[in-house]
Symmetry: C2
DNA sequence: ATTTAATATGAATACATACTCATATATAAA
DNA sequence: TTTATATATGAGTATGTATTCATATTAAAT
């Protein structure tokens, strides 16, 4: 009970390749100020591309490129309404992680 | 109670510059496979640079460079023991976020 | 004082990425 | 069908970053 020789062979089991890739990709999505601003805005309400562009003072092209990035990772989704595309959050869990990080850097 | 005209002027209040910077920087630390592997290893036990290098099959120089990155963000700390430097986690909250993300990408 | 072992650092390089511009696509209205 | 509006996309560019190599620093041991 008090000695651990029986469990000596105790080498570290790393993360598998696929997990490592998805984790790093998803954190990468959260590592850019522009994408953070877009996600944070969408976490308050659904927005069209134009609304995001206006609210955050970004180029329309920049917003479209970043939304494609976020859509590929299934972090956001969209619906069409006339000629406008309304984007919204598609992964609430990741938004929770973002909010936890925002809270973390502001306190402690 | 049922109409909201009184609170019409409802524009979105974005994140301040400093928060945005720290959040993006911290997520950036978590967005690289090598740094994730190092942090994940350190979350299981304190390690010297040599141990990290051996366990993860990385170049010593690579490990040192990444540890400096993580140390600047105060994600890890170290203590000296002879000529070895033992690194360990200095921000358990960020490790919690990392573990949540690992769990997230493996399930849902 | 030399030597050895552990770690850190600077420079060079190869690669990734964010933005902008110009243009294409798509839907709706006239 | 033409026009207008909204969004997407490809190319170009500038900047950032991860790794490696060579070398410097540091502490311990002889």
């Amino acid at each position: 009970m008090e000695h651990k020789e029986q469990n000596e062979c105790n080498h570290y089991k790393g993360l598998d390749e696929e997990t490592l890739f998805m984790v790093s990709q998803t954190f990468k999505a959260l590592s850019d100020p522009t994408r953070i601003r877009i996600l944070h805005l969408l976490s308050t309400r659904e927005c069209s591309v134009n609304e995001i562009t206006g609210e955050l003072s970004l180029m329309q092209s920049t917003v479209s490129h970043q939304l494609r990035f976020l859509k590929n990772l299934r972090l956001v989704k969209f619906r069409r309404e006339g000629t406008s595309l309304y984007y919204s959050i598609d992964d609430e869990h990741v938004i929770t992680l973002l909010n936890q990080m925002i809270h973390h850097v502001n306190h402690d």
